[in-house]
């Protein structure tokens, strides 16, 4: 049992967990943030993607103890003041989700993807970047559409702000 402290969605949190506890288990079981999902055992599906110190990370591929001291954002922390993040809004507007299980990981991946590419995305790039996120419902068609729409909106907003 180790005591682990980190900042999650803007709040400092601590918890005791087995050394073998994965970050995703810590988030789900210790913190009760069940929006981050587990869809496989082999770091393939991406349902557990969160942001750790600003980068997207599969939270099943890292121990909770390794995340000690870091700053984590989960899907629950993405919408500010009750307003959907532009990526969340684009997923809704473009029907980029069906059962919703892969959705938190898809959204967190997409936010980081748009940030890294500074909103300059095309369909082939989005599809290649989604290699680590599996969806069984949508055939990806509307997920790709949603990410492109969000990227356009966010880069438009960024340009306008500059």
């Amino acid at each position: 049992m180790a005591k682990v402290t980190m900042t999650v969605n803007g709040r400092q949190v601590s918890g005791h967990c087995d050394d073998r506890t994965l970050l995703v288990q810590f988030i789900r079981e210790n913190l009760g943030l069940t929006g981050t999902h587990v869809g496989c055992d082999t770091t393939q599906c991406g349902a557990c993607v969160i942001h750790m110190d600003g980068k997207s990370v599969k939270s099943c591929s890292i121990l909770a103890a390794q995340a000690a001291g870091s700053t984590i954002t989960t899907i629950e922390g993405l919408a500010a003041d009750g307003e959907l993040h532009p990526v969340q809004a684009a997923f809704k507007a473009n029907h980029g989700l069906q059962c919703g299980f892969c959705t938190p990981g898809m959204v967190m991946t997409a936010v980081d993807m748009i940030r890294r590419h500074q909103g300059q995305l095309d369909e082939a790039t989005v599809r290649a970047e989604l290699e680590g996120n599996i969806c069984r419902c949508t055939g990806y068609h509307n997920i790709v559409k949603a990410i492109l729409a969000a990227a356009a909106e966010m880069s438009g907003a960024r340009v306008a702000a500059e």
């Binding site: 087995d18 073998r20 506890t21 789900r28 009760g32 943030l33 069940t34 929006g35 981050t36 999902h37 587990v38 869809g39 496989c40 055992d41 082999t42 393939q44 599906c45 349902a47 989960t74 899907i75 629950e76 993405l78 919408a79 959907l84 969340q88 997923f91 809704k92 507007a93 029907h95 989700l97 069906q98 059962c99 919703g100 299980f101 892969c102 959705t103 938190p104 959204v107 369909e123 082939a124 989005v126 599809r127 290649a128 989604l130 290699e131 996120n133 599996i134 969806c135 069984r136 419902c137 949508t138 055939g139 990806y140 068609h141 509307n142 997920i143 790709v144 559409k145």
Partner: protein, 781 residues
């Protein structure tokens, strides 16, 4: 239509909770005192259990209890069953072997559950499960269904000699043989339909809660049909009587058929909760899902299609062997029979059809309905055969289909189905136009210059949805009726709850069902809530599968809305001293037609509940229920065209374009319908290009993770071109046919027809991996 009514492209009401991490799936549930379960599973595909020794495991840290199959048997928990009776052609009933929720004598596939460990944490339960020592005596194994029928093979169940479950037939064999003998041309092919794993992204899970105070059980579970789960667990498995068992299927992360069935784990978690005195939660990991979720497909068929001199099909003869795995899952017997062979007429007028189907036990996971369920197998068989025939006869694939299309309705096929409506030419035309079929030769020549082999293929599918009427399916062997229920509750302030026996696990019912209400009463979508998935809230329902929620579930809502509307009009007429026949409902008001007199919807609702001023003799309140039993199946149909480029150096196939032109009847929300098609196409393309369950000869599953089983990923797929041209279904009040499975049904043959066109070799099986395509392309040289 209004902006939120029938036909409107309304964004989904349920999206916000999924997008903000507030979805509530079974594994998200937590109750006081809850403990965690891990199952001990057989590592052997076939073995006798000599001894289960849990003494070491019981002493491990955190362990609450270890329970095995003998204890389960002693407590009277029953066998798992298959709920659809099929009789062999000799009249004998299907040979159902015993399936224990926890095996105590024999294990028959890798993953068969043997014991359950309950502990304070999943990790401790897993440690203890590894310490349970099960002594096995290994038995010989058979994996392949055709081989399992041969003499001298390992026998799985004493009830089923030669592993044969049933030997069933449909159609007129003599007439078909006569047609084949008289044919100008007979196309003969052997068709393999590969075994698949459904893979909803949410793994199965169950939380069993026994309340000793009330002798009552609650089960949270990942189910497409919680009421059927309660019925089966009560009536057959002796878990508890229905009034002592509540089943809740909260948010469910996809199903695709695999969450229809009642599996051992939910039964055992409920039983273990009583035995251990704590709530017990089990969540499958992905490897367990590959091992134990019911698989789909796995057919081998020999086909003869006979043509006259004018290229008209005069007979079709099919001999199919279907692998059902180690046990008969809940609907397994219906899939290769009434959901498959009854669709063998496709979109074509075929005067004589005969199909023989043998279903077989093997040492593999149980096989049951997976998106499409029998209809993909029928469509793949027919459309690959049609393509082969077109090539042999030297006619274009479109021409051969046109010559044989059914053109007048209703149309009675030789295999039970009576098609009610359709326009197959329209969807063929639409697809060919969208795909620029006529421009293909130029595109092929251009690809050739780049050293690429370009091919184009089509598939014309028909399917049957909304299986019904109940009396008819009962006569065919179904153990349940296939109606649906709905209840519409208008609250005193005018807001509305619709309770439905359908279950949404991605289909968007919370939006589309509400659109029906908004359309009818002109009330805002936000004032309507859809309630589903809880046996304590919804009285009874048959759940969601077989693309039935629109055609059957929504029709039940319409019937209940009719009753609400009638009573609302009576109340409004009374309030306004008008004749009820003059009342119209528009924009949330009940108006006297042709006057300016109106009562707002909420005021009428309040009047129903204050009951101060109701028509004489009228009961207070406004709540109506309905059960809807359809008059016939519905028959969605369409044409899919796929164009590919194959790299002859690597065998890699790139999908250049994929066009879907469907006839779904009337549509409630086009955005959601398109999403259903996209998802179905991805699964069909996955079957054709990527996916396949593989066991080795000893019955070990080689494809038990996402590193071994190729799931379609975003960069495997193109964007799709989808459209609809609709003929309303005449047999339900909304004219809906259903759209959930079409994509998975129609797409595999279009893709394989395109690849074989590209490489000039018709001998190719699914999945068409680069290795297979390369070999086939080079063999063609």
């Amino acid at each position: 239509m209004g902006v939120e009514g029938i036909g409107a492209r309304v964004a989904r009401k349920e999206d916000k909770r999924f997008l903000t991490g507030k979805g509530r799936y079974t594994d998200d549930m937590s109750v006081p005192g809850m403990k965690y379960a891990v199952f001990v599973r057989s590592p052997h595909a076939h073995a006798k259990i000599v001894k289960v020794d849990a003494s070491a495991a019981r002493g491990m840290p955190g362990v609450i209890g270890v329970l095995d199959g003998k204890q389960l048997l002693a407590d009277g928990i029953g066998n798992l069953i298959c709920g659809w009776m099929i009789h062999s052609k000799d009249g004998s009933p299907m040979k159902m072997g015993a399936w224990r929720p926890l095996a105590h004598e024999t294990v028959r596939y890798v993953g068969d559950a043997v014991a359950i460990v309950v502990a304070d944490s999943v990790a401790e339960a897993r440690d203890a499960a590894e310490a349970v020592v099960v002594e096995y005596r290994e038995l010989p194994v058979v994996i392949d269904a055709t081989r399992a029928l041969e003499a001298g093979q390992p026998q799985l169940h004493p009830e089923a000699p030669n592993n044969l479950i049933f030997d069933w037939q449909i159609g007129d064999e003599a007439a078909t043989d006569t047609a084949i003998a008289a044919a100008a041309h007979v196309t003969e092919v052997t068709i393999h339909n590969n075994r698949l794993s459904p893979n909803p992204m949410e793994p199965r899970a169950a939380l069993g809660i026994y309340d000793a105070g009330d002798d009552h059980y609650t089960c949270y579970t990942t189910s497409q049909n919680p009421h059927v789960a309660r019925l089966v667990m009560s009536a057959f498995y002796n878990v508890a009587p229905e009034n002592k068992l509540r089943v809740i299927a909260p948010d469910v992360g996809g199903g695709f058929g695999s969450k229809i069935y009642i599996y051992p784990e939910e039964i055992v978690c409920l039983w273990a909760s009583k035995r251990t005195g704590v709530p017990v939660k089990w969540t499958s990991d992905r490897t367990e899902a590959f091992l134990t979720d019911a698989h789909g497909r796995d057919h081998v068929s020999k086909v003869k299609m006979a043509f006259d001199a004018n290229n008209r099909i005069i007979g079709l003869k099919v001999d199919t062997v279907a692998n059902l795995g180690a046990y008969m899952s809940l609907f397994s017997s219906a899939v290769p029979t009434y959901l498959y062979a009854t669709l063998l007429s496709g979109q074509y007028a075929i005067p004589a059809i005969h199909a023989n189907v043998r279903t077989v036990y093997t040492n593999t996971a149980p096989v049951d309905a997976y998106r499409g369920a029998g209809r993909p197998e029928a469509t793949y068989l027919l459309e690959r055969t049609m393509e082969t025939a077109a090539r042999e006869l030297g006619v274009s694939p479109a021409e051969l289909r046109r010559v044989n299309f059914i053109r007048s309705f209703p149309h009675q096929t030789p295999v039970i189905m009576n098609y009610d409506a359709g326009d197959y030419e329209a969807s063929l035309e639409a697809a060919m136009k969208a795909a620029d079929w006529n421009g293909f030769a130029a595109r092929k020549a251009e690809a050739e210059r780049r050293g690429m082999k370009r091919g184009i293929g089509m598939s014309c599918y028909i399917e049957a949805c909304g299986i019904a009427p109940s009396a008819a399916v009962g006569s065919l062997g179904a153990g349940v009726g296939l109606w649906e229920s709905a209840e519409v509750r208008v609250n005193a302030v005018g807001t509305i709850e619709v309770l439905t026996g359908s279950h949404s696990h991605g289909q968007g019912h919370e939006t589309t069902f509400a659109q029906l209400v908004a359309d009818r009463f002109g009330v805002p979508l936000d004032s309507v809530n859809i309630v589903h998935g809880d046996t304590d809230k919804v009285q009874m329902g048959m759940g969601t599968y077989g693309s039935r929620s629109g055609a059957v579930g929504m029709s039940a809502v319409v019937k209940a809305l009719d009753k609400v509307e009638a009573k609302a009009k009576k109340i409004a007429a009374h309030l306004m001293e008008a004749d009820e026949s003059d009342i119209v409902i528009e924009n949330g008001e009940l108006k006297v037609a042709g006057t300016d007199k109106a009562v707002p919807w909420f005021q009428m609702a309040l009047a129903a509940y204050t009951a101060h001023n109701l028509p004489a003799g009228m009961e207070p309140g406004l709540k109506e229920g309905a059960f809807y039993d359809p008059a016939n199946f519905t028959f969605p149909a369409g044409c899919y065209i796929c164009e590919v480029e194959v790299d002859p150096d690597t065998g890699r196939t790139k999908i250049v374009q994929f066009v879907a032109a469907d006839d779904f009847g009337n549509i409630i929300n086009p955005m959601i319908v398109e999403g259903q098609v996209h998802g179905g196409l991805a699964q069909g393309i996955g079957q054709a290009l990527l996916e396949g369950v593989h066991y080795d000869a000893s019955g070990q599953l080689l494809t038990a993770s996402y590193m071994d089983y190729a799931m379609p990923r975003a960069d495997d797929l193109p964007s799709f071109q989808v459209s609809t041209s609709n003929t309303p279904c005449p047999n339900n009040p909304l004219g809906i046919k259903g759209c959930g499975e079409a994509g998975a049904i129609g797409s595999p043959p279009a893709l394989i027809n395109a690849i074989t066109d590209a490489i000039g070799n018709n001998a190719l099986t699914m999945p068409a991996t680069p290795q297979k395509v390369w070999a086939a392309a080079h063999a063609a040289k």
